[in-house]
């Protein structure tokens, strides 16, 4: 991988690119929970996350400026002392993820739904943030 020696408009672009290559090589993102998919277009951003076995009341979504934070807890089922584990693959405990949005969102424009272990968050882009077309007037 070649890196440009001169900075263009963004002085941190090089740093970000290097960090991304590092993540890709060593897979530091693999342990993050929950796994998220981000969908977007001009009008809105949608975030979907897989949270199987989590109660909707245990999930907390917060929006501050352009950062959406998803946190909560996966509680371990109460099985009693005499339970014998044969196989244990699922994880439990507190989780927290921050997702950067491409615009500043207000909390009244965030909508979240939870069904069958899949969380869907829709964030609408505020009207003042949308690109406006400028009419060219005849001189």
């Amino acid at each position: 991988m070649l890196y440009p020696t001169t900075f263009t408009s963004d002085p941190f672009a090089l740093m970000r690119r290097m960090s991304r290559d590092f993540d890709r090589t060593f897979g530091t993102q693999a342990t993050a929970f929950p796994q998220v998919n981000v969908w977007q277009n001009e009008e809105a951003v949608a975030i979907t996350a897989e949270l199987p076995g989590v109660e909707p009341s245990d999930i907390e979504i917060m929006v501050k400026d352009n950062v959406l934070t998803l946190s909560g807890e996966r509680s371990q089922p109460d099985l009693g002392d005499d339970a014998v584990w044969h196989r244990r693959e699922r994880g439990f405990g507190r989780f927290r993820r921050a997702i950067r949005l491409p615009f500043d969102a207000r909390d009244d424009q965030v909508e979240a739904r939870f069904a069958d272990g899949v969380l869907r968050i829709a964030v609408a882009r505020p009207e003042e943030d949308k690109p406006r077309r400028i009419e060219i007037k005849a001189a």
Partner: protein, 131 residues
């Protein structure tokens, strides 16, 4: 936000593809035994209770789940960490389970299957009488 795609952590099962075009994943499972019954807890996010298919054939318990699409309308995928697809996993059981008494429940994308040990297979205590 980056537009790069990343690989998912979910394990794809050996069965390659479905006729619906999606991938098949192997659901993460906890197996715990208590009070004479074995409980399996499988993570199948995106699967409704109606789309789960559980079969017990010749000691092989097979669990299949068809996941719905979570793709929002008019939006394109900008960043992906997980893939969506169906779920499938098989377990080979010991002989002492009663197929009639298998129970299953689904809540928040978590499937719980309870298999009680057959009465006949439970150890019987034999009282020793004094002669």
């Amino acid at each position: 936000m980056t537009t790069d795609m990343t690989t998912t952590e979910k394990n794809a099962a050996e069965t390659p593809e479905t006729t619906r075009g999606g991938r098949i994943y192997r659901p993460l499972t906890d197996i715990v035994e208590r009070d004479g019954s074995v409980s399996l807890m499988l993570e199948m996010p995106g699967v409704t209770p109606d789309d789960v298919d559980i079969t017990l054939d010749n000691r092989v318990l097979t669990i299949r789940g068809r996941a719905g699409q979570s793709r929002p309308e008019k939006l394109h995928l900008a960043y992906a960490e997980y893939g969506e697809g169906d779920y499938e996993r098989s377990f080979t059981l010991s002989e002492d389970f009663d197929p009639e008494k298998v129970e299953a429940g689904m809540k928040n994308g978590l499937l719980t299957v309870t298999l009680p040990r057959a009465e006949a297979a439970k150890p019987k205590k034999i009282a020793v009488k004094s002669a």
